[in-house]
């Protein structure tokens, strides 16, 4: 039964990883930018929530406030720093976002110290769980985060496939020059995509603060890394692939932890490596998805 428990927990953790990964995948898919500061920006979102909660704002309201803040921050960041890097070539964006990641991490260390901070540690949502039968215990938080992740992916998919702006985002991703000839300002469209990406990863950062604890280095050490693994397992550029990849990673980690608690991380990377070797295009490749 412990195994069943582990697998269920692994699947649900996949939702958290999907929140880390879908923004990374979106930015890569639309503007070919690998945002190495993606995880750190999630942590920034988490810390902003921590700050808002300190002002006696209820935890759930802090989420409502943080997401639009991070969306605007994403737009501004894209239109200023990242776009300028992009104008000098895609490789420049790697260096610039790496620099951004270092700056954010050290700024967080400066302001918040290296101590960890949790979000909503007294809430039933965060600490509570329910039982299925006598052996299986599932935390409320993981279920809620999974549901949020599915809702986010559904929302993104609906937005991208049905709305005028979503259509423009896909058009710009296909051919930004042709989109300009159709009257679209691709820089603005990029900004919107980056805003969406940071809005989703802010949710990931807050969920991470609830599930584990925030610390200034979690962005690169955990969130970005898991996001990458989930994106590559799932398939580059595929939105639902991030959930599939997240689930595969989560299950592998939980099974690894069942074998030996210190094998949690290595189990995830072994699966990652196996998929890179056996199916390098990812489980859901973009072309096959259509």
């Amino acid at each position: 039964m412990a195994w069943v428990n582990a697998i269920i927990e692994g699947i649900l953790t996949g939702g958290l990883y999907a929140l880390f990964a879908c923004g990374l995948s979106l930015m890569f898919g639309v503007m070919k930018v690998v945002n190495l500061a993606h995880g750190d920006l999630a942590v920034v979102g988490g810390y902003i929530a921590v700050g808002i909660i300190l002002l006696h704002v209820p935890v759930l309201w802090s989420v409502v406030i943080v997401v639009p803040i991070m969306a605007v921050a994403g737009y501004v960041l894209q239109r200023t720093v990242i776009q300028r890097a992009l104008d000098r070539g895609v490789l420049t964006t790697l260096i610039v976002t790496l620099g951004l990641s270092l700056v954010i991490e050290n700024a967080l260390l400066q302001f918040f110290s290296a101590n960890t901070r949790g979000i909503g540690s007294g809430m039933t949502l965060v600490t509570g769980s329910f039982s299925l039968g006598s052996q299986i215990q599932i935390g409320y938080l993981l279920v809620v985060v999974f549901a949020v992740a599915v809702a986010v992916l559904l929302g993104l998919q609906y937005f991208l496939s049905r709305s005028t702006y979503g259509r423009l985002i896909r058009a710009v991703a296909d051919d930004k020059e042709a989109a300009q000839l159709a009257g679209a300002n691709y820089r603005h469209v990029f900004g919107v995509a980056a805003g969406l990406a940071l809005a989703t990863v802010a949710l990931g950062g807050i969920a991470y603060g609830m599930y584990i604890d925030l610390d200034p280095t979690a962005g690169t050490d955990t969130i970005l890394l898991f996001a990458f693994v989930a994106v590559v397992i799932g398939g580059l550029g595929s939105l639902w692939g991030t959930l599939v990849g997240g689930i595969v990673l989560g299950v592998a980690q939980q099974i690894g932890a069942q074998i030996n608690i210190s094998d949690e991380l290595i189990a995830g990377y072994i699966v990652f490596l196996a998929i890179l070797v056996l199916r390098p295009q990812g489980l859901i490749s973009r072309r096959a998805q259509t």
Binding site: T164, R170, L181, A182, G183, A184
Partner: protein, 272 residues
């Protein structure tokens, strides 16, 4: 077509006016002092060999290249510094070389993107379907799965739904079978009925001479010949196109008179 082919040019003010355009690709001078005017209702054809600067000229007018010097006036307004998307919204719409459809989008989505920032005008997606009837049945198909000729037609439709005032067509025939090219060009008059002005670039000279009300030949970035198809002889075109002889051609600034007198006898610009 409102422009006549007997040498008369419309009396209106030019819709598009290119003045002394110089464009560099790095060190290479792709266009050198090119000037011309396009009047409303005209089909103005830029012809020339590979590397003559035709596409560069069209892309500069669309705003995708920045000229080193010179101006692009649209309806009397200087648009030289304007970004391509703003030119498109004002009515300078280009069908780029190689179609450049949004390949992961469906045919209909391609048209919808084209219509997003459209001006008011006669063209709607519905009208495109009426003009190209096969497109309606296949509107859900991915643009990337269409044949080259079909893609070219969708690319034209995508430009039309923006209701351009001047439509820039860059090498419609590129990579297409002659039959397909023929079919696309025979639709041109139907498109022109809606009051469009067309500036097209074509390597296929006979095709250009057939549809154009005015032709303009480029050689290595310079103007070598201008005139109506009726005014120019095949020999003149050949020489202006390949730059073989020395006696025929026009200076970059001169344009043939209505009676086709000027230009001849002057020293070709690519010499000396």
């Amino acid at each position: 077509m409102t422009a006549s082919v007997d040498g008369q040019r419309p009396e209106d003010t030019p819709l598009l006016e290119v003045g002394d355009l110089v464009v560099h690709h790095g060190q290479l001078k792709a266009l050198d002092q090119v000037s011309f005017q396009v009047f409303p209702g005209e089909v103005y054809a830029i012809i020339g060999a590979n590397g003559a600067g035709k596409s560069t000229l069209l892309r500069t007018i669309a705003g995708l290249h920045h000229p080193t010097s010179g101006t692009v006036l649209f309806d009397g307004q200087n648009v030289t510094g304007l970004r391509p998307e703003h030119r498109a919204r004002q009515g300078i719409v280009m069908v780029p070389e190689g179609r450049r459809l949004f390949e992961s989008l469906s045919v209909e989505e391609n048209l919808k993107v084209g219509a997003t920032y459209a001006r008011k005008g006669p063209w709607t997606i519905e009208r495109v379907y009426e003009t190209f009837s096969w497109m309606r049945d296949r509107r859900g198909q991915r643009a990337g799965q269409l044949s080259g000729g079909e893609q070219q037609t969708v690319a034209i439709g995508r430009a039309l739904v923006a209701n351009p005032r001047v439509l820039l067509l860059d090498e419609l025939s590129l990579g297409l079978a002659p039959v397909v090219v023929q079919r696309i060009y025979t639709m041109l008059p139907q498109i022109l009925q809606t009051g469009l002005t067309v500036l097209l670039v074509e390597q296929d000279v006979s095709q250009a001479l057939r549809v154009a009300s005015h032709i303009h030949c480029l050689l290595e970035g310079r103007t070598t010949l201008q005139g109506t198809p009726a005014e120019v002889t095949a020999e003149e075109v050949e020489e202006a196109y390949f730059g073989l002889a020395s006696a025929v051609g026009a200076t970059p600034h001169a344009r043939l008179d209505a009676d086709g007198q000027s230009g001849k006898g002057s020293e070709p610009p690519w010499r000396g």
